[in-house]
């Protein structure tokens, strides 16, 4: 990679698929002249797991577990969206209490995701203190979610036809207490975002996407709302309990990363107000209805406002207990096309924060490792099977035998 003779040409540097600033693998190839980015291209697909194909081989309930694990942070969004689609095809209306509970968990998830994003954004611009503070606050939300659903991420509270767990009055009080703590902290962060000079310098004017481009490239979520595109599925196409709740759609006109920060902070405050309304208005009743195993033939498109934007699920049923086709369009897929536009004519230092500002969320992959020893030019390919067997052997050496462990566990029941 010897560039000293051609310093006037563009240097191509890869960002990804593995890079300290990217939380998930995606590959950006950027051409640099000095510190300025002259061109960028994105390559996706590192996270392809074949979930859509796998859903076709599983029943709806089994598929629900799979869909939930598309993403760790927006797991409730995906499972709710899928359940809504299947319930629509079956023509079933879930009880009101279940709708409110789904909304409650959805808003808690939104708080969780936005606080995580704030920390990540701080880390990308080198502001580790913000990372530590926001992630400390995130613990409050995660403890609440663990008390309500049993898990800190991947809540597993949905079932097709409603929710699986109910909420007690003691838990309602805990939620209100937690929300009060978070609200004070969020007010501090809003103050910080408005006044801290280095933060403003790094975030303002960076990652600009004009209003026309946002509409043309179909940006969704806070990315679009920061460009003045006032779209929010909760208001436009209400689902769950949103039609009965009162909230504002936060949108600013600054079109840059700073605007996206302000939008997310504003949404946090709206979420606190929504949670208070839910806790006070939640009706009594059942939390689920039973659906037949075989869903009649039909199709449905379901939309959900995930923390990152509009999540779209298309389900087609054919009268059997397995779906004919499940299509998932995650919000980041819609936003990633605008990243190249945003990076035009910016500096290398802005790259991590611009990518982080659309809050990218891809999910995991299945790749294998090739080790090449340059001295003797040997190439060993290691397959997953080899790694798995190696793992089992290593644990045996530590005194843990999985075969007998499973037997012991089943015997103890």
């Amino acid at each position: 990679m010897h560039n000293s003779e051609h310093y006037s040409e563009d240097v191509k540097i890869p960002m990804g698929p593995q890079h300290p600033s990217l939380k998930e693998p995606e590959s950006f190839l950027i051409s640099l002249r000095g510190e300025k980015i002259t061109a960028s291209s994105v390559r996706l697909g590192y996270n392809h797991r074949g979930i859509e194909k796998a859903c076709e081989d599983r029943t709806y309930t089994q598929g629900l577990y799979l869909i939930e694990r598309i993403c760790g942070i927006c797991s409730h969004s995906h499972s709710t969206c899928f359940s809504q689609a299947v319930e629509e095809i079956a023509g079933v209306e879930i009880p009101a209490r279940a709708k409110y509970l789904r909304t409650l968990i959805g808003e808690l998830e939104r708080i969780h995701s936005h606080l995580l994003w704030l920390g990540v954004a701080g880390h990308e611009i080198g502001f580790d203190t913000l990372l530590m503070y926001t992630w400390r606050d995130r613990e409050v939300v995660m403890d609440l979610l663990a008390a309500l659903t049993g898990n800190r991420v991947n809540y597993g509270i949905n079932t097709i036809g409603g929710v699986r767990r109910d909420i007690s009055s003691k838990q309602k009080e805990e939620v209100l207490k937690g929300v009060a703590i978070l609200e004070t902290q969020t007010k501090y962060y809003i103050d910080l975002a408005k006044n801290e000079t280095t933060l403003l310098k790094r975030l303002q004017g960076v990652g600009v996407l004009s209003h026309e481009d946002a509409v043309r490239l179909d940006a969704v979520g806070p990315t679009a709302r920061a460009c003045g595109v006032k779209r929010d599925v909760r208001k436009d196409d209400p689902y769950a309990a949103y039609a009965e709740l009162d909230f504002k759609v936060i949108s600013v006109n600054s079109c840059d990363v700073y605007g996206r920060t302000l939008v997310r902070l504003g949404e946090l405050m709206e979420s606190y107000s929504l949670i208070r309304q839910i806790i006070s208005k939640i009706p009594e009743g059942a939390i689920a209805v039973k659906l037949p195993r075989k869903i009649p033939a039909g199709q449905a498109v379901s939309r959900y406002e995930a923390p990152r934007g509009e999540d779209l699920h298309y389900v087609r049923a054919n009268g059997t207990e397995k779906p004919d086709r499940v299509k998932v369009r995650a919000p980041t897929l819609a936003n990633i096309q605008s990243v190249s536009k945003m990076l035009e004519d910016r500096y290398l230092a802005d790259m991590p924060i611009v990518i982080a500002a659309i809050d990218p969320c891809f999910s995991c992959t299945d790749r294998l490792i090739a080790i090449r020893d340059s001295r003797n030019k040997e190439k060993n390919t290691v397959t997953w099977e080899t790694i798995r067997l190696k793992g089992i052997e290593w644990y045996k050496g530590q005194g843990i035998d999985f075969k007998s462990l499973n037997k012991k566990l089943t015997e103890s029941f």
Binding site: M1, V11, L32, G126, F127, T129, R202, Y347, A349, P352
Partner: protein, 313 residues
């Protein structure tokens, strides 16, 4: 001869610097953590990191220039260690004081940045090359204000020897106050020299992996981190000697205590500034340094020149 060897190898040379470097790194990381509402590492963490790195396998990239790659950490340590021999740490005079040693010290303290540049450039990895170029570009921003502040203090003391400056200020304690602007500017420039937030642009982890040090590992990385610590000790000692001339003319043990306190104070200020700000972009940093720091440093020089003419000796 034996005395010289003692000074070079034990105090205030390499032995003292190794131990004190670990302590300073611990203080910095602990304070940084406490400011962020975390617990922070235990006192032996820097030593544990050093031992772990030494015991790891060294992998040198195929395309890198192996000699330069291996020599640069050594040069970084020796330059900073040599610099401290001319900075008064215990008492008014440094070990090998001579007239003109201010220039030598400043020059020696610039060498580590050059070694980082060369090490990064000859690593031949894209990230390290970008980091290397950034550290040189940053050098042009903070060196001038730093030099000017030290120069201003030297002008007022009317001597080109660091030890001479300390003697002057310790006898005329009132003049310490005249250099207060210089102290502030020099502290900020020290942040740039040590490549700490908000000026840790050459080593921006989220943009260019680890900058110049992306390809370093094993004992070479241990030495690089050691050179950071020694540079911090040397830089802080320089600032303490020039701008905080207190606690001299006392028994040796008390003087040493004062020296420790001064270094810890400067390290505390650095940790505090580190946790307060985000990292700035390179162009913003150069703007800031040339628009605000350099004029302030010029102001300090002018102020001291006027004082020198006006005030009696």
């Amino acid at each position: 001869m034996l005395k010289a060897l003692f000074h070079i190898l034990i105090f205030p040379g390499l032995g003292f610097l190794f131990v004190f470097g670990f302590f300073v790194e611990y203080a910095d990381r602990k304070l940084y953590a406490r400011f962020q509402n975390r617990i922070g590492p235990p006192w032996f963490q820097p030593l544990a990191d050093f031992i772990k790195l030494i015991s790891k396998e060294e992998v040198i990239p195929e395309e890198a220039d192996s000699t330069v790659f291996k020599l640069m950490p050594v040069f970084a340590i020796t330059a900073s260690a040599a610099a401290i021999l001319y900075i008064p740490t215990l008492g008014e005079r440094s070990v090998f004081a001579f007239s003109g040693d201010v220039i030598v010290v400043l020059y020696l303290l610039t060498i580590p940045t050059f070694t980082y540049f060369l090490g990064g450039w000859y690593s031949r990895s894209v990230y390290s090359m970008i980091g290397a170029v950034r550290s040189l570009t940053q050098l042009f921003a903070y060196e001038v204000p730093l030099f000017l502040c030290i120069l201003a203090a030297a002008l007022l003391a009317d001597t080109w020897s660091l030890s001479g400056m300390v003697v002057f200020y310790s006898h005329h304690l009132g003049y310490w106050f005249c250099n207060i602007i210089g102290f502030g500017v020099a502290l900020i420039c020290l942040l740039g020299k040590l490549e700490k937030v908000p000026f840790d642009i050459p080593e921006a982890e989220t943009e260019i992996v680890a900058g110049s040090f992306t390809e370093y590992n094993g004992k070479l990385l241990a030495f690089i981190r050691m050179s950071f610590n020694i540079e911090m000790v040397a830089g802080a000692s320089l600032l303490a000697a020039v701008f905080l001339p207190f606690g001299l003319h006392l028994p040796a043990a008390v003087m040493f205590l004062f020296y420790l306190v001064q270094i810890i104070f400067i390290v505390a200020v650095i940790s505090f500034l580190r946790s307060l700000f985000a990292r700035v972009r390179l162009d913003q940093m150069i703007n800031f340094c040339w628009k605000y720091l350099a004029p302030l440093a010029f102001l300090q020089v002018l102020f001291n020149l006027i004082l020198k003419v006006v005030l009696p000796r």
